[in-house]
């Protein structure tokens, strides 16, 4: 299903006396991948959770297309990969990946292809406890992708993955959701990861988070276009780092 535009209008959030996020107004374009980058505690995960409907903003409106997050979630058109893989330990890898489809009462024909793609070939019938941390994280990403969501939310999805796998997944996974026109929002600490995966990067200040830079990533998909060793890549990463330092 093609993605929808995400509209954030004056969205803010506090936890008790602590302001986590200053009012933010932005439109995240349909079919694009937007990365939220900022120091720890700047509210980027909070913003992602509000887009998912897991937290309610203190003020402002969040719309996914014309819907509220909860409405989209109830249609099964929203998917999220968490920092922690959150696999149910009593289900096999395959059963974990198809959980969303099972809840929606549908059968996903591409689950095996996706298991192969995330490098879990032959592990479909294993339990999560039998996998390494990186393999679990890949299963969690496959679970988020398998339902072909309109909006895909990724909260530091490659945090527990080793550098080589991270690089491989960074090259192989984005084309899947981009090819489907999915709107994706990614939270990450890694500037390189943001440049590698996103079409647009929002840089947030320390708490309360405010957007201080809105950078388009105009690098070609595929080939060496998003290779961290390429000069254009390093220039763009430097631009994001400058914005982060200025914000701090």
């Amino acid at each position: 299903m093609p993605g929808v535009e995400i509209e954030l209008e004056d969205v803010s959030k506090s936890f008790g006396a602590t302001a986590a996020l200053a009012p933010i107004t932005r439109r995240l374009r349909a079919g694009q991948t937007t990365a939220l980058v900022g120091p720890s505690g700047c509210g980027k995960s909070t913003l992602l959770r509000m887009i998912a409907g897991l937290e309610h903003p203190d003020s402002g409106i969040i719309k996914l297309g014309s819907e509220k997050p909860s409405t989209m979630a109830s249609r099964g058109a929203l998917a999220m990969a968490f920092q922690d893989p959150s696999l149910l330990p009593w289900r096999t890898v395959r059963a974990n990946i198809t959980l969303g489809a099972e809840l929606a009462g549908t059968v996903d024909p591409q689950v095996d292809a996706l298991i192969d793609l995330v490098g879990l070939t032959g592990f479909g019938l294993h339990r999560p406890a039998e996998l390494s941390g990186g393999m679990r994280q890949r299963a969690a990403i496959a679970r988020a992708l398998v339902s072909e969501p309109e909006v895909l939310l990724l909260d530091e999805p490659f945090g527990a993955v080793d550098a080589i796998t991270r690089s491989r997944l960074g090259k192989e996974l984005p084309p899947i959701w981009r090819g489907r026109g999915t709107t994706a929002v990614l939270v990450t600490h890694s500037v390189d990861e943001a440049v590698q995966l996103a079409d647009r990067i929002l840089v947030l200040t320390p708490r309360p988070g405010r957007v201080v830079a809105d950078i388009d990533v105009d690098l070609p998909e595929g080939g060496d276009g998003r290779d961290v060793r390429e000069r254009v890549f390093r220039d763009l990463a430097g631009q994001v780092l400058d914005a982060l330092e200025k914000a701090a």
Partner: protein, 509 residues
């Protein structure tokens, strides 16, 4: 491994036999050969009694666990009811079974009702706690996942919580198996016609050493077989050993004293209303089914009040030293094991195994060996308190994070310093939780020993009043024990809060 186990068992049997052979004739001990001979000579009688008691225990196990699961589900579906449901469940659990027995006997009359009900009462609280802990032992991100899929509380319950709670439920069921047997036996102590409890009572009163030992070994064996069998099934179903569940969840966060007083008063009033209402709704005869006002009226008179308070004082004078001794020995041995790990290999498997034995079924042995006075009674109470405290404290001492232990090691700290500065604070919640849970257990132990043997205290008063149909005094005894158990439980909770806030404030967070 299996050979080692068999060899150890054989060694224990040989040492036991030799001890009996070398003991003075006035020591009331029976050895394995005596027990085997008695069991062989009375095989039919023992088999029938064992079948009877096991049947009562199984039915109580079924009903008690069912009630526990329903109560836990109710709390999950109506979270606001948690305070009231948990308090009521705790008060009923705090009633020593030996006190509830005569009341049930009066209400049910002859038959199996009291045995089955007591077996149910003996199991429901630990299973209730296990299920509650299990239903909540889910990762926040699993709940978030369900919400991202647009699913509500029901799908979360059926797809996540119920399945996640199964290993905990099994631990609860495992602990419940010997508890059900204990409940059934106590039910039989209080006036049944058949069963191992009846035979135990007769053997005790006739000072039949061999019979008493045979019955204790048989009872403990059946209870341990239930415990081991369910543990084996749990391990096969859920892979590896299920999680240890040794104590109640920590008390709820501190509230204002006035709010706590109002809540306590509310629960007390609710209990009195339920007590009165139940008697009225069931239309029970006021001659044997006393209402709260009957008890208040009776206790307003002398010498009834003085008699009751005198007996209660005697009971507490036995219960308190045994309770403190059991706690101290449990925590002390756990600390010793941490300081000298090789001790663990010798003690822990025995302690974990004995935790499954309904100690009360072996109480007659203590009385035979140590006499009917202070030593025998205090020993039973101490043993009853010791095992759960020991295992919980050992688990608690190991709660200290590995990184903290390594940090102390990197500073070259001694084991004693590590124990005092890191492991004991980590152990305190487990210690206090087991101290709270041990309150009803200690009262059960002391009243049962009094009932069976000593001729002192409120246990005997209940036995006498049950046989003379003095229901005013019987109900007053039960009410006094319930108030006592709840008050001591509350007092331990206050001590827990005071100690933790001073020595381990992070444990109250």
């Amino acid at each position: 491994m299996r050979f080692k186990g068999v060899a150890k068992l054989a060694l224990i049997i040989v040492v036991w036999e030799l001890l009996v052979l070398s003991a003075a004739p006035n020591v009331l001990l029976a050895g394995p050969s005596d027990i085997l001979r008695h069991a062989f000579d009375n095989a039919g009688l023992l088999a029938r009694a064992a079948l009877e008691t096991t049947g009562h225990a199984a039915l109580g196990f079924l009903w008690g666990n069912l009630a526990a699961i329903l109560l836990a589900a109710l709390i999950l579906l109506v979270p606001r009811a948690e305070g009231v449901i948990s308090s009521l469940a705790l008060v009923v659990f705090s009633l020593p079974l030996i006190a509830t027995g005569p009341i049930l006997r009066a209400l049910f009359g002859p038959g199996d009702g009291p045995q089955i009900t007591l077996a149910g009462l003996a199991v429901y609280y630990t299973t209730f706690l296990a299920v509650i802990v299990g239903l909540r032992a889910v990762s926040e991100s699993w709940i978030d996942l369900m919400r991202v899929y647009g699913r509500g509380a029901w799908t979360t319950l059926t797809k996540v919580r119920l399945r996640a709670s199964l290993p905990y439920l099994f631990v609860g069921l495992q602990i419940a198996a010997p508890a059900a047997f204990l409940g059934a036996m106590i039910g039989e102590f209080t006036g049944a016609e058949r069963g191992l409890g009846v035979l135990t009572l007769r053997a005790m009163r006739a000072l039949q050493t061999e019979a008493t030992w045979t019955l204790a070994v048989l009872s403990a064996g059946i209870a341990m077989a239930g415990y081991a069998g369910l543990g084996w099934i749990g391990a096969r179903l859920f892979g590896g050993a299920p999680p240890l569940l040794l104590f109640a969840p920590r008390s709820r966060p501190a509230r204002h004293a006035a709010a706590m007083a109002v809540e306590t008063l509310g629960v007390v009033l609710l209990i009195l209303l339920l007590w009165h209402g139940l008697m009225e709704v069931l239309g029970l005869n006021q001659f044997f089914a006393k209402r709260p006002l009957d008890v208040f009226g009776f206790l307003a008179q002398q010498p009834a009040r003085a008699t009751l308070l005198g007996a209660l004082g005697q009971t507490l004078s036995f219960a308190f030293p045994g309770y403190v001794l059991g706690l101290a020995l449990g925590a002390g041995l756990a600390a010793l094991i941490v300081l000298f790990p090789p001790i663990e290999r010798a003690t822990l498997p025995v302690a974990v195994a004995l935790r499954a034995v309904p100690i009360i079924t072996t109480a007659p042995l203590f009385i035979l060996a140590l006499g009917r006075g202070f030593a025998g009674t205090v020993s039973v109470v101490a043993v009853m308190t010791f095992f759960p405290t020991f295992v919980a404290c050992l688990q608690g001492l190991r709660q200290a994070p590995g990184q903290v232990t390594e940090l102390f090691a990197s500073y070259g700290a001694t084991r004693t310093r590590l124990l005092l500065s890191a492991q004991v604070p980590a152990m305190l919640p487990a210690f206090f939780a087991s101290a709270r849970m041990a309150v009803p257990a200690a009262l059960l132990a002391v009243t049962t020993v009094e009932w069976l043997a000593t001729g002192n205290g409120i246990g005997v008063l209940m036995a006498l009043t049950a046989s003379t149909s003095d229901y005013n005094m019987l109900w007053s005894c039960v009410a006094a024990l319930a108030v006592c158990a709840a008050a001591i439980y509350g007092f331990v909770g206050l001590c827990e809060r005071a100690v933790l806030s001073r020595y381990a404030p992070e444990q109250l967070a």
